[in-house]
């Protein structure tokens, strides 16, 4: 790898979206006089009577949560997408709109209010993976649903409105922008090379060993060459797996283990419960074969210099391209050093 990439401004191509990230390695030392985030390292109780996700509590709409023991899933009380809304489309000159139906669910990872994925055992995270598999399957089987987006917003700084360990599943009739880009890029590559884009990329990364954080028998945790967020990372299956239902044998457990290793390392970076948004990109549930898809889970953590200073994706990033200061290669070194 040319050392220029560690010293001078450049852009790197995200092969999955076709878009670029601007990297400015020389800029990492700029001073900070801007906003600091509030950081809460207080230990939460295992049960909070006011939490609308704790077992047995009543939610805002009057429904009562069961006394669940591991995972609990329900339809979002304020769902952004609904399954019974009317179909319509607008094409009025340059005003173009289309109705979008869907189902939005909330998934509690544990009844223990005090935990995050980083505090859970791999065997408990495996139950989360199995629940994701079940949701991907049952939602995906519906005619209405052609794509299932699994994600988690962790931490107040990521807009998470409740610290109880939980994620969300928004499933819908059409492909959202980011998925559509990745669908196209993977399809073009597959048509040309008859192999998986991400699989071939993984082979290259495993040879180089420059951006690998961790691997087990079935999964690799790495910082992609084109990472945008300061400590962004990606979990990729070694074998060609289009989606969660392609996982074989003990792969759900090995996936859980990879999630556990990464999130535990994250918490050590700034000695804080590390905020992030994570999400799984996988094959659409549109009834097609989708062999060009290679599933992967990405983590986008906003913290940059400390538990209180985050990277703002604003001005230039909104109008131009995403921009980062520390390189992917420096980030790997920092994360890797924290793996137990």
């Amino acid at each position: 790898m040319t050392t220029d990439l560690q010293d001078y401004s450049h852009k790197r191509l995200n092969i999955l979206t076709g878009e670029w990230v601007l990297v400015s390695p020389h800029r990492a030392k700029r001073p900070w006089q801007g906003q600091n985030e509030a950081v809460s390292n207080e230990k939460r109780p295992t049960y909070d009577p006011k939490c609308y996700l704790c077992a047995g509590n009543t939610r805002i709409n009057g429904e009562q949560n069961p006394k669940y023991e591991d995972i609990y899933i329900f339809t979002n009380d304020f769902a952004a997408l609904q399954s019974d809304s009317p179909s319509f489309s607008v094409e009025d000159g340059l005003l173009v709109a289309q109705s979008e139906q869907g189902i939005c669910k909330v998934i509690c990872f544990s009844p223990d209010h005090s935990k995050s994925l980083a505090d859970m055992e791999p065997k408990d995270i495996e139950k989360v993976v199995q629940a994701w598999q079940h949701e991907y399957k049952t939602l995906g089987e519906k005619d209405l649903i052609n794509y299932v987006q699994i994600f988690e917003n962790k931490g107040a700084v990521m807009g998470c409105s409740n610290p109880h360990p939980h994620g969300q599943i928004w499933s819908q009739s059409t492909l959202p922008n980011e998925v559509d880009k990745k669908n196209t890029q993977q399809l073009n590559y597959f048509n040309k090379h008859k192999s998986s884009l991400l699989g071939d990329y993984l082979t290259q990364e495993l040879e180089k060993q420059e951006r690998i954080i961790y691997e087990n028998d079935a999964f690799v945790v790495l910082v992609p060459f084109w990472a945008v967020w300061p400590f962004e990372a990606m979990i990729v299956p070694k074998q060609h797996r289009r989606h969660l239902l392609d996982l074989e044998n003990n792969e759900p457990f090995l996936f859980a283990e990879a999630i556990s290793v990464l999130t535990k390392a994250y918490d050590k970076i700034f000695n804080t419960s590390f905020p992030y948004s994570s999400g799984i990109h996988q094959a659409p549930t549109n009834g097609e074969d989708n062999t060009h898809w290679h599933m992967h889970m990405s983590f986008y953590p906003p913290l940059l210099r400390s538990a209180t200073v985050k990277k703002f994706m604003v001005g230039y990033e909104m109008f131009g391209s995403p921009q980062r200061d520390i390189t992917a290669e420096s980030a790997v070194k920092m994360i890797k050093a924290l793996i137990a």
Copy 2:
């Protein structure tokens, strides 16, 4: 306009980028238990001895600001892009990178530390517009520079590290992602229709009068049909202007007036100095004719429900598509009612 758009989930097409925004009008009433932003309505002094942008003060690198009286422009002390960095390119299998050169400048809008654009008179904002014109011209004339991005991050919540009224100008050798998308969409439309995409859109909006906030003889302020941010707005020249240097006669003043009207209305929405990132998208300075370009200035403000509750673009938005709750049409009504 079908009323379905005010009641049910749908997606709207951004004709300038080719991407979609998910709109969930029924969701605006969901409760908020998440992070609140700190809000500072304290009046700042007109001069702050510790501010590195105030006239006469010394900056971090030891340089002293002149005793400037209106506008002051200097090269960013921690520039993300540099003009003297080496040229290189990496194409190593699926690892693709290219060096990027550029020049990053800071522009102080006023020596008065206490002001924002919203507090300035249109005739003073006109000086900012003229300075932008000068920078677009002189930077754009350099061989190295093929695109000039003018933007402002206002407010701590937008990552602005200093409250002194200022913006930035990042100019560079290649087109950033967002500009590249708009370049393609406008070019395709122009080749097909022999007219400006944004000009034709404006004609349609002026007929409908559903999303117009304000107009003067040369500029229209509107909420685009595909707006993403809660109170997003766009300033568009009525005549076909590719870039700032196409402005004729008193158009720089009329542009300043439009900026003034919009930013003053913004400050009234939640009775606070309204944070936003703004930016001007205009023709590249790549020596081509760029007739397909129609310049416009966009404002992306993050506040949603109050001075302290913002819209988080996280999880679903990062992995799927941007999502908004209040519709563009509701936002227009709120902003329009606040114009003096």
